[in-house]
């Protein structure tokens, strides 16, 4: 039986329940509202912008010792002024990506703290003063003409050239490797009307050497195939042999493939067995690349067969040459490394084995941009010096005040004195030979950078694209401009093509930007020496 008191109690219970339910709904709704509007509240109550909550307080500052420790795992520690402020972010995070994290190099060091350290001290922009040159042309008289490849499918990109009598006739031919069109071209510069024609197809020929590899009396070509036009870690690189046949054609034989980017090769009898081996600079990219020798193991009278033997597992070897560094009668190897090493290493031949190297030169920091090396006797003392250029802008499109030409003058076995000859923005290659007939080797250099990038940094009209360092007295060079405002010369060559006793100048053309030139653009510009 239900009493009045019971009814009253029930009513109170029901009322209380309803209130509780309403409260729960209200609280839940309020929570939902607050959760969905959390960013608003953060923004309203914070002094920093609403997106900045993670960065409150900033990263823990890095100490100089920590910084040196982190950098020196892979390279010399760069100073903040080697790059402008806005480029450090890309650079530091690229370092983290390339391998820092996986190698546990960074430890407790916060990349943001490192970035902060560099940003605070870096200049807003790099100061690029004009190159000091002499206004006069000295005694040199040059006339210019262009050599074309009428059948070019796309604008050329000349990566290397040879001036050599490859066909065995009277005058030397010009052999050109076009890395964009995947072609080896041959021309007869002695005939002013002649143009280039394709003699072989190789996907991305970066460098060529002329050599009679099979000792059949005909000149062959050995070619480094980069495997891709642009930089990438892949396995498309190869070493190719263009074997000259009886009828003057060239038969392509792959000597080694499945390699990463192969940038240079140098045939030489490394192990003294009378057969030509090939030193290979497998540049690679970030995770690939090495320096190795293809050892010729063929039996006498048999076609060459090669077996690879590693020399150095570092990537970044762009140029390679052989010379007897320690004067023991065996060919040693000289290799230019860019990437993080930025150095010239000499590998000493110990009976066909290379167990040690000497650092012949090291640039002060990894942003140096090494771009070219030639072993040449600059001072006429019958010792091979090393001519270096650094002006590679591929990584960051930046011209830098430290781009230039350096001469490592050999004073004795593996003893080099460094001479900073001149600044030259975007310099890509230099060669030395006497071009004004004064008996002293001059140096001619060319530069390459993307026009759009140059225009934003220096006056394109004033951009020195071909420079002549006139050696007017032993060791004294006067810089003179041969050409300016055309920044598309990946390589050049000095040689006497017309047998008139003076060296002429061949400048290769090529643009990274395929859309900036016609397929019919000049492949090679010839500066013919008219010296008396």
């Amino acid at each position: 039986m239900t009493t009045t008191a019971d009814s009253s109690r029930n009513f109170r219970r029901i009322a209380a329940s309803v209130v509780v339910v309403i409260l729960i709904i209200l609280v839940t709704s309020a929570f939902r509202v607050s959760a969905s509007r959390l960013p608003v509240e953060l923004s309203a109550g914070s002094r920093t912008p609403p997106w900045d909550s993670e960065a409150a307080g900033g990263p823990k500052p890095v100490t100089a010792a920590e910084l040196a420790q982190v950098c020196s795992h892979c390279h010399l520690q760069p100073q903040p002024d080697v790059l402008p402020k806005d480029r450090w972010s890309d650079t530091i995070w690229k370092m983290v990506q390339i391998g820092g994290r996986s190698w546990n190099i960074w430890g407790n060091t916060d990349p943001e703290a490192v970035l902060d350290w560099y940003r605070r001290q870096a200049p807003d922009r790099l100061d690029l003063p004009p190159i000091a040159t002499d206004a006069g042309q000295g005694s040199l008289r040059l006339t210019r003409r262009e050599i074309f490849w009428p059948d070019a499918p796309a604008p050329p990109f000349v990566a290397s050239m040879l001036l050599i009598n490859v066909l065995g006739d009277r005058r030397p031919e010009l052999v050109v490797s076009d890395m964009r069109n995947g072609a080896i071209l041959l021309g007869r510069p002695g005939d002013p009307e002649s143009s280039l024609e394709s003699i072989a197809q190789i996907p991305h020929p970066a460098q060529m050497r002329a050599v009679d590899l099979d000792a059949d009396g005909r000149m062959d070509l050995v070619v480094a195939n980069l495997g891709s036009f642009l930089a990438m870690d892949h396995k498309l690189g190869s070493v190719e042999w263009l074997r000259q046949t009886d009828d003057g054609r060239f038969e392509r034989i792959t000597l080694a493939d499945g390699l990463s980017r192969v940038s240079d090769i140098q045939p030489a009898d490394i192990d003294g067995d009378g057969r030509l081996d090939i030193v290979v600079a497998e540049f690679g990219y970030h995770s690939t690349g090495r320096l190795f020798v293809l050892e010729n193991r063929a039996a006498p009278g048999e076609p060459p067969t090669f077996t690879p033997r590693d020399i150095d597992g570092h990537h970044g070897a762009s140029h390679v040459a052989t010379t007897d560094l320690d004067e023991d009668g065996l060919p040693d190897i000289v290799a230019l490394f860019s990437q993080e090493l930025e150095s010239v290493r000499g590998y000493l031949n110990q009976g066909g084995r290379f167990v040690e190297f000497r650092e012949l030169y090291r640039a002060p920091h990894p942003a140096w941009g090494s771009s070219g090396m030639q072993l040449v006797d600059v001072d006429g003392d019958a010792r091979l010096d090393i001519l270096l250029t650094n002006g590679d802008t591929y990584d960051d499109s930046l011209l830098k005040p430290y781009h230039g030409i350096r001469w490592l003058q050999q004073r004795g076995p593996m003893d080099y004195e460094v001479h900073d000859l001149t600044r030259m923005y975007g310099v890509f290659h230099a060669e030395a030979a006497d071009i004004d007939g004064n008996g002293l080797a001059d140096i001619v250099a060319c530069s390459m950078a993307e026009e759009d990038n140059v225009e934003g940094q220096v006056d394109l009209d004033q951009f020195v694209s071909v420079l002549w360092l006139d050696q007017v007295a032993p060791g004294r060079f006067v810089p003179r401009v041969i050409e300016q405002s055309a920044c598309h010369h990946p390589t050049l060559l000095l040689g006497d093509y017309d047998d008139d006793g003076d060296n002429d100048l061949f400048v290769g053309n090529g643009r990274f930007d395929e859309t900036a030139a016609s397929a019919r653009a000049s492949v090679v510009t010839v500066w013919e020496n008219q010296a008396d």
Binding site: A44, P49, M232, T515, A517, S518
Partner: protein, 422 residues
């Protein structure tokens, strides 16, 4: 004590029946009288949501309005606008047609149809109808600006977009929209730090805008400001916990900051939400290859490569995983190298389009290359932009037709980019 009042007894059943009848009549009357009011209320809610740039909420309110009165022209009109804002043009046109049948004012419908064309990039700024409206926009100014800027962006008429944005900022200084769209223009050009500045300004004006927050997070991530981007992604995910793209962005930041295990877990979560998120598959594939799990990497990458064979990064990561386990990889390396070169050429061509926005050959070359080596949907947009400028451009038509039919795209010679004569 006897009562002095005589009580009149009414039967309880009768009383209950009358009461129920009155209540029922009241409800019916209220329903009849209030329904138009409720529809209006829902439309008002939807318009408020649209003003907040929340088209999804607007649509849900309009769905309610439609269920109350399917014959409301106004409901159909605002549904068209919400669909247009979401880029759902077919649905927008369908709703406009219904609104027209229901007698909604023709002037409003014409404007909405014009906005749809402009937004799709099919009506250039020089079109007299659009110009006339832009000269005297009235209350429609924000809609007109937004649609015209979106259209300019879609057809890569960046000069038009920039001049519209200058005018819009001048007209509506406190609106976040022009800043957000300027950020999008800058993103298109790869100017990520500058884009982040613009998105930051938009977010400061409208801190509740999660869509802007997501744009800002992406711009900061692309600018390698991973820590700030990470914070923003986390804020965004408070309200949108299951957004796969935001989760992917969060994973990328974690990855870049060295938290690869946490990043991998995030990518896996992305794939549970959206199994065809190929960027997440690529990220896991790269992590697994790097950490000695090439076979697992192949398993993650394989479906993505099958689905998106034109993606350079996917092919390269797949090639490396195959190479590591000793399977043939050359075909994939070669594609990646070709795609990389094409991508560089496209960048150069895009730079030229900025200076020559009406050069159809540049646009065609970009579109054709992207069909073969980039994201095909981007290629389609570029080819469509060719036809907007020159409707009879036969190669663009052919390329689009071939793409739609699933045939091969143009041959190498047809892909050769236009070049400067030298």
């Amino acid at each position: 004590m006897a009562s002095a009042v005589k009580t009149v007894l009414i039967p309880r059943r009768l009383l209950l029946g009358v009461s129920l009848g009155i209540v029922s009549l009241g409800i019916v009357a209220a329903g009849v009288l209030l329904r138009p009011g409720l529809v209006e209320y829902r439309i008002w809610q939807a318009r408020r949501a649209l003003a907040r740039h929340d088209a999804r909420t607007a649509l849900s309110r309009l769905d309610l309005a439609e269920s109350l009165n399917p014959k409301s022209g106004a409901t159909q009109f605002w549904m068209a606008r919400a669909h247009r804002r979401l880029g759902q043009m077919d649905r927008a046109h369908e709703r406009l047609a219904r609104a027209s049948r229901l007698g909604y004012p023709a002037e409003a419908l014409d404007l909405e149809a014009m906005l749809a064309l402009a937004q799709a990039g099919r009506m250039p700024l020089s079109d007299p109808r659009l110009l006339a409206r832009m000269m005297n926009p009235g209350d429609d100014a924000p809609e007109l600006y937004e649609a015209a800027v979106q259209g300019s962006l879609r057809s890569f008429r960046l000069d038009d977009a920039r001049s519209l944005l200058d005018a819009w900022e001048g007209d509506q200084a406190d609106s976040p929209q022009p800043h957000m769209y300027r950020g999008l223009v800058l993103s298109h050009q790869g100017a990520w730090p500058e884009a982040a500045d613009s998105f930051g300004r938009a977010l400061a004006l409208a801190p509740w805008r999660n869509d802007v927050r997501l744009h800002l997070a992406r711009a900061l991530r692309e600018s390698r400001d991973y820590r700030r981007a990470l914070g923003l992604y986390r804020q965004y995910l408070v309200g949108e916990a299951d957004d796969p793209d935001a989760l992917f962005g969060l994973g990328m930041c974690l990855d870049s900051l060295g938290k690869s295990q946490e990043a991998r877990e995030t990518y896996v979560r992305v794939l549970t939400l959206k199994p065809d998120h190929d960027e997440a598959r690529l990220a896991i594939g790269k992590l697994d290859s790097t950490h000695g799990r090439a076979a697992e990497a192949i398993a993650w990458l394989e479906p993505a490569v099958a689905r998106s064979p034109h993606e350079q990064d996917l092919r390269l990561a797949y090639a490396w995983a195959l190479q590591i386990v000793g399977r043939p990889a050359r075909e994939h390396f070669e594609f990646a190298a070709r795609a990389q070169a094409a991508s560089a050429t496209v960048k150069h061509l895009v730079r030229r389009v900025v200076d020559n926005p009406r050069d159809v050959e540049l646009r065609y070359a970009i579109g054709a290359m992207l069909l073969q080596y980039g994201r095909p949907q981007e290629g389609v947009v570029w080819l469509e932009s060719v036809l907007q400028i020159q409707p009879d451009h036969q190669r663009a038509r052919d390329a689009l037709a071939a793409h739609e039919a699933g045939r091969a795209v143009p041959k190498r010679d047809a892909l050769a980019p236009p070049r400067t004569a030298h």
